[in-house]
Amino acid sequence: NMEVDRLMLDKWRQWNVDMTTWRSIGSGPIMEF
């Protein structure tokens, strides 16, 4: 099972967290550059 997990994790390596729709404790607007 652990080996299966490793393969699955490899596939997520390039994935990024998109926090733009999250509630956050940050202040001010989200700025795009």
Binding site: V4, M19, R23
Partner: protein, 370 residues
């Protein structure tokens, strides 16, 4: 003997307590933030917050120290990492800030845009603090200037809802979004210590003890942190699905998982929270490992590759019947084969994986409609 062990534990606990006390001490900087050069923090450390008003003194600098947190990264901008990275300076100068009437610091986006505009056609050094181990590094961003046609496009497609920095971008999109956020927010993570309910939500979702950290939750419900927050959220989602974002320290990747919380409102694992359970520094993967990863990425996901590396001479070897029975036992020889084949060609195993009901890999990016 027992007394020695007891003293050793006591000494260790004392040192942890000291570290924690130090980090909570209003005067000293949290050990996690000390990698940041002091000159980049000076603007915030010297802000007039301490001297302020309304009877409230903000004495704990560790709670207010902020940076431009990366909250979204485009595919092309791989050197920045969403969630973990904070911009704390440009060209070794602090992020320009302005103070509001209450003495709180806010980023001066007009000035920041000017910095990018001034570097059109050049490279800009961006100072980054990472929540992975509290490390500091520099990244270099190529700022490419827009041509006149692009400038016209921007003015026509201006979105009224998008917050404006008050200054036009004279550079092509850099591919990231930021928000001014306290650095401490990135330490609100929950370390999976062990899975304690067989076939419970944690085990079914494939949480890996010691390696995995829950860093977020759907809608940002874990944003405020707190030792009992995860427990409270899980309990409140009894009989419902819950999306958690999990970081794996061995693979250095984040994955979303969906857990179905039962009527008992339990996740089925023990978690650690606090100073000792923050996300550690990424261990450098060996060059061989990186090369292997590149090969894996380039190999298409097809069943054909299963036989691609098998020479024809070995397709039908004269295998004695005894050998078959050995394999059936599934003991040492099979384990050794697996050991030698590990990392050689994962496509066959991956094909099997695709048939199973394990969490699917990330979807292919659709071409942007813009």
């Amino acid at each position: 003997m027992f007394r020695i062990a007891k003293n050793l534990v006591r000494t260790f606990e004392q040192s942890v307590q000291d570290t924690l006390a130090l980090s909570q001490d209003s005067g000293s900087l949290d050990a996690f933030f000390q990698s940041i050069p002091p000159n980049l923090l000076s603007a915030q450390l010297e802000s007039p917050v301490d001297a302020v008003s309304e009877g409230v003194k903000h004495t704990n600098v560790n709670e207010t120290l902020s940076g431009l947190r990366i909250v979204w990264v485009d595919e092309m901008q791989f050197q920045l990492q969403s969630f973990f990275d904070y911009i704390v300076g440009f060209n070794d100068d602090p992020v320009p800030v302005v103070n509001n009437q209450h003495g709180f610091s806010y980023p001066d986006y007009r000035r920041i845009t000017s910095i990018f505009n001034e570097h059109c056609g050049r490279t800009l050094k961006v100072n980054i603090w990472s929540a992975k181990g509290g490390t500091f590094r520099d990244e270099y961003v190529n700022v490419i200037s827009k041509d006149s046609n692009d400038l016209d496009d921007v003015s026509l497609n201006h979105d009224e809802r998008r917050p404006s920095s008050g200054e036009a971008h004279q550079f092509q999109a850099l591919g990231f979004k930021v928000q001014w956020t306290p650095l401490i927010a990135s330490t609100f993570t929950y370390h999976i210590l062990n899975v304690n309910i067989p076939d419970g939500p944690a085990q079914l979702a494939g949480l890996i003890p010691d390696e995995d950290y829950i860093i977020g939750c759907q809608d940002g419900l874990l944003a405020t942190g707190g030792e009992t927050l995860l427990q409270d959220i899980v309990r409140s989602r009894a009989n419902y699905d819950l999306v958690l974002y999990v970081y794996n320290k061995v693979s250095d990747c984040v994955r979303p998982i969906t857990v179905h919380i039962g009527p008992d409102g339990r996740l089925g694992c023990n978690v650690g929270y606090g100073f000792l359970h923050r996300i550690p520094t990424v261990k450098q993967r060996s060059q061989q490992g990186q090369q292997q990863q590149q090969e894996d990425d380039s190999v298409p996901f097809s069943a054909e590759s299963e036989t691609a590396f098998v020479p024809s001479a070995f397709t039908a070897p004269p295998v004695p019947t005894k050998k078959k029975s050995k394999n059936k036992k599934g003991s040492q020889p099979l384990a050794m084969d697996d050991y030698f084949n590990e990392g050689r060609d994962k496509s066959s195993a991956a094909a099997k994986l695709a048939e199973s009901d394990v969490t699917a890999p990330p979807p292919q990016k659709q071409p942007s409609s813009n």
